[in-house]
């Protein structure tokens, strides 16, 4: 008994600094935000007391122009386009490189490189690429279409009421599909070579090989790619802010929090933050449980 305690105490001592930091700066702050979101608190004034879930219900009932619901809808469109785009592109690139292509390292770097660029920097570049000036004053993509005589393809991009949010997902896809490719590549490499050989010996065509042997093995990777891209898109702030300056058309909850904070409506901003945290948790928590379980198994 005494021996046991001796090993337990130093362990706790060693871990306690990080536990304390984690408790204060991560969960403490989350708790503080939740607490703030339940209060009537605006501007610099002290809290006027607790109002229960008022700040939350107001987001759906008295928000002018249904701004919050609108930003949620935007988020859904962005997430769907972004996830589909990165996963499809990432998969295509992984398939191209998967069979030990020539100069694989080079191409891998080429695809991965955009991820090394900061969101703000690429946002600024995409802001120019999606320059909405038409005809002579067009820049970037529109200028190329104009020059090629494909004027009908010119678009105001992210100020287009129908396609604005989908257009916003394009820079995000550009930036992160390489990362998804790396995930898939690792997934392919994790499949035992014997499986592939056995399938070939059994006379499987290439299509059958991928469809029936390799892709099923890739399911866990696809799942993590979905989760990772999903939660990335929910937190997307810097890219949207730097491309569009967060106009009405492309406003998402993360941006709305920021705008609300600028008008010093602290309680409302806290409520939006907590709501966003809950959505991300819905996506991430099941995944973490799944990962923990599969780690235990292996």
């Amino acid at each position: 008994m005494r021996h046991r305690r001796r090993t337990w105490i130093p362990g706790l001592l060693l871990i306690s600094p990080s536990l304390i930091l984690l408790a204060v700066f991560v969960y403490g702050l989350i708790g503080w935000t939740v607490n703030l979101s339940l209060q009537d608190r605006h501007n610099a004034r002290p809290a006027k007391g607790y109002v229960g879930l008022d700040n939350y219900t107001k987001l759906f009932t008295s928000d002018i122009n249904d701004r919050f619901t609108h930003s949620l809808k935007n988020l859904v469109v962005f997430t769907l386009v972004f996830m589909a785009g990165t996963i499809v592109l990432g998969l295509i690139w992984a398939l191209l490189l998967e069979r030990r292509a020539k100069a694989e390292g080079f191409w891998r770097t080429v695809y991965l490189f955009p991820m090394a660029v900061s969101f703000v920097a690429s946002g600024v570049v995409w802001r120019w690429l999606m320059n909405t000036g038409q005809g002579d004053s067009a820049g970037g993509i529109n200028a190329i279409f104009h020059g090629l005589g494909l004027g009908f393809l010119e678009s105001p991009w992210w100020t287009d009421p129908d396609w604005g949010m989908a257009a916003m997902a394009v820079p995000a896809i550009w930036q992160l599909s390489g990362y998804v490719m790396a995930l898939f590549l690792a997934g392919f490499r994790g499949i035992p070579e014997e499986l592939r050989e056995a399938a070939v010996v059994d006379g499987a065509t290439t299509f059958q090989l991928y469809r029936q042997v390799l892709f099923p093995q890739l399911t866990p990777t696809i799942l993590s790619a979905l989760i990772i891209t999903g939660h990335m898109s929910m937190k997307m702030f810097d890219l949207i802010m730097s491309v569009s300056g967060a106009q009405w058309l492309t406003e998402v909850p993360a941006v709305y929090v920021w705008q609300t904070l600028l008008t010093r409506d602290y309680a409302k901003a806290a409520a939006i933050s907590v709501f966003l945290l809950l959505i991300v948790a819905v996506v991430v928590v099941p995944y973490l449980i799944h990962v923990n379980r599969s780690e235990k198994r292996s």
Binding site: A44, I64, T159, W248, T263
Partner: protein, 421 residues
């Protein structure tokens, strides 16, 4: 041994860090009776020059006190506002801080964070030195809480003379209909988007200028003090005109800052831009001489103002020194020194025009005789929360052009954030 030395070094480093923090709190600005901490976001350019001019006057007029610069740079004032909010929350206000004059102060007033300066207004003779319209806009519940350092005008229409001449326009339009006719002429002359426009707050400015023309100054003031309804037929007509006005603007307006729109004007791709009078200083600085200006068509003798002002927060450590600073801010010499360098005009009407550039001299003359109205995007007409709601409604309208939705949104914004009856 080596490790323990490293640990010791780290400990010293941390110790120093905390010691610095501790020291800084004992050397808090404004402590003692001499220092007056002046909190602004004027950290560079013409704004810094203006502040320096004001400080020069303060040093001679208030020799007993010492100026302490509490400027917080960046984010067009948003960094400073966050710092200020947290300092006020911790009951550690600077001796005075910069804020837009008018309704934007209502947040602080409602929270009981500002001292009433009405007595000082009488004592320093400000009640007569400022125009009555300004005094009315500054008064909240019979009290005045700030001293404006300057005045900017919001409802100015800037133009490119060459573009206008090419389209055969020789006279400034004085009515909205006349303006539409000129815009049509420009379109016919091949200027696809004659009215350059930028995003959010610049759209709010254009909309307000149009509202002044359509409703007149009294009803326009009423929108902000609650006496004019946002739901009326006049409003609907005004929004429809605004919708028509947008058809003359660049389609990519939502991607443009005011300086991007200004560039369209300078490049001759647009003929007009509605912007505050800081545009004059900017065009001069960029070496563009070919500009003209007029009051927005139909605004007549209405001067839509916005102002930077200083306040006396409750709990300021050096209230007497602050009062001396505020007196300097409100004085004729202080206002002349500040505004000649910042490119705005004095709020007082008795400051001589010597040393001011041509545009400012004209604006100073207008300021004396004009009818004053405030502006929401610049905080003189509405609080920040209201401003945010109007901004998003305007942003939505810019993309969908839904007249009824804009009117409903503006009305609900006024109901939620406007004055409660």
């Amino acid at each position: 041994m080596r490790l323990s030395r490293r640990v010791a070094a780290l400990a010293v480093a941390f110790g120093t860090m905390f010691a610095t923090v501790a020291c800084s709190s004992s050397e808090e600005p404004g402590e003692g009776t001499k220092k007056v901490e002046v909190f602004t976001w004027w950290a560079d350019g013409g704004e810094k020059a203006g502040l320096d001019g004001l400080v020069g006057v303060f040093k001679t007029d208030c020799a007993d006190y010492e100026f302490l610069n509490g400027a917080v740079a960046g984010g067009a004032g948003s960094n400073a506002k966050q710092v200020l909010a947290s300092r006020l929350q911790q009951n550690d206000p600077p001796d005075t801080f910069q804020a837009h004059a008018g309704a934007e102060l209502s947040d602080y007033i409602n929270d009981d964070q500002l001292e009433d300066l009405s007595a000082q207004y009488t004592e320093w003779g400000l009640t007569n030195a400022f125009p009555k319209g300004l005094i009315d806009n500054l008064t909240v519940g019979g009290k005045i809480y700030s001293v404006p350092a300057n005045i900017h005008r919001a409802n100015v229409l800037w133009s490119n003379k060459t573009v206008l001449a090419k389209a055969g326009i020789t006279k400034d339009a004085t009515t909205i209909d006349g303006f539409f006719a000129d815009l049509d002429k420009l379109k016919a002359a091949g200027v696809a988007a004659p009215l350059a426009l930028g995003k959010d707050w610049t759209q709010q400015m254009l909309f307000e200028a149009l509202l002044i023309s359509k409703l007149g100054p009294e009803k326009f003031n009423g929108l902000w003090n609650g006496s004019t309804p946002w739901t009326g037929a006049e409003m609907t007509a005004a929004i429809n005109d605004y919708k028509r006005l947008l058809t003359y603007t660049n389609k990519d307006r939502d991607t443009f800052d005011w300086t991007d729109a200004e560039k369209l004007l300078m490049d001759g791709k647009a003929a007009y831009q509605l912007m505050g009078d800081w545009e004059a200083a900017d065009l001069d600085a960029k070496g563009f001489k070919d500009y003209g200006w007029s009051v927005f068509p139909g605004n007549g003798n209405v001067f839509q103002w916005l102002a930077d002002s200083f306040v006396l927060p409750k709990g300021a450590k050096n209230a007497d020194g602050t009062k001396c600073w505020l007196k300097t801010v409100g004085s004729a010499t202080g206002q002349a020194a500040f505004n000649q360098k910042k490119g705005s005009i004095p709020a007082r009407t008795d400051v001589g025009t010597d040393g001011f550039p041509a545009y400012q001299q004209a604006a100073m003359a207008d300021w004396k005789t004009a009818t004053q109205v405030p502006s929401c995007p610049h905080g003189s007409a509405c609080a920040q929360t209201w401003q945010g709601a109007v901004g998003s409604a305007q942003g939505k309208f810019s993309s969908d052009g839904d007249v009824a939705a804009l009117q409903t949104a503006l009305a609900s914004a006024a109901a939620e954030f406007g004055p409660k009856k």
